[in-house]
């Protein structure tokens, strides 16, 4: 295999792996659920994107024709990640998970739980 292609695949793999690790460390270290929801998104988008593009480059190089079907997984993960995050946030609101005390606009959580629009005076 060409040296530069190998270097490109290695760099993409390492970027992907580091972002996946950062997402998991965030899942452990962050203090409450609403901040924890934020961390694994990096693993889903950049981490998986890097690993899948590395796989795409390697398969294209091995087979001699363009291999695009890894893009399917990337696209699928990019579409489904916001839906999952939305459902999880709604579940946390419904179960009245405690937020950090310094979270801003906490009074809006009541309206969101009741699925009502915020009252005009509630805006910060």
């Amino acid at each position: 295999m060409n040296f530069w292609v190998e270097l490109l695949i290695t760099i993409l793999l390492l970027i992907g792996g580091i972002f996946v690790l950062v997402g998991s460390i965030g899942l452990i270290r962050l203090p409450d659920f609403y901040t924890r929801l934020h961390a694994p998104t990096k693993a889903t988008t950049v981490g998986m994107g890097g690993i899948l593009i590395a796989s795409m480059v390697m398969m294209t190089n091995n087979q001699g024709y363009l291999s695009l079907h890894e893009l399917l997984i990337t696209l699928f993960l990019l579409i489904t990640a916001p839906i999952t995050a939305h459902m999880l946030a709604k579940t946390a609101l419904h179960h009245e998970n405690r937020a950090l005390r310094r979270t801003r606009s906490q009074h809006l959580m009541e309206c969101a739980r009741e699925q009502q629009p915020p009252k005009p005076a509630d805006h910060d």
Binding site: S55, L88, K90
Partner: protein, 89 residues
């Protein structure tokens, strides 16, 4: 160089999976556990793809796609169950 990189990234992913498992076992709330499961299936997709790259075949791609789809559906079903007490009303 490539084989070493694949081994190193596999090690990183295993560490990430163990951290997720810690959150899954410890998570103070049910939604934390679901979030940990969601992250775990995404990391396992990456691990399967790395194994496919190591073996140099395209065979493992389909299983990765299947796990992506089933993982999404299962996460949404669990959230729906916690939200409404029922999955299909």
């Amino acid at each position: 160089m490539l084989n070493t990189a694949i081994l190193i990234v596999s090690g990183i992913l295993c560490v990430a999976l163990i951290l997720n498992l810690w959150r899954l076992l410890r998570g103070p709330d049910l939604s934390d556990r679901i979030l940990a499961l969601d992250t775990m299936y995404i990391n396992s997709i990456a691990l399967i793809l790395l194994y496919g790259m190591h073996m140099g075949t395209n065979l493992y791609f389909e299983s990765a796609l299947l796990i992506a789809m089933l993982g999404f559906v299962s996460t949404v079903a669990l959230c729906k169950y916690l939200l409404r007490g029922d999955i299909i009303e």
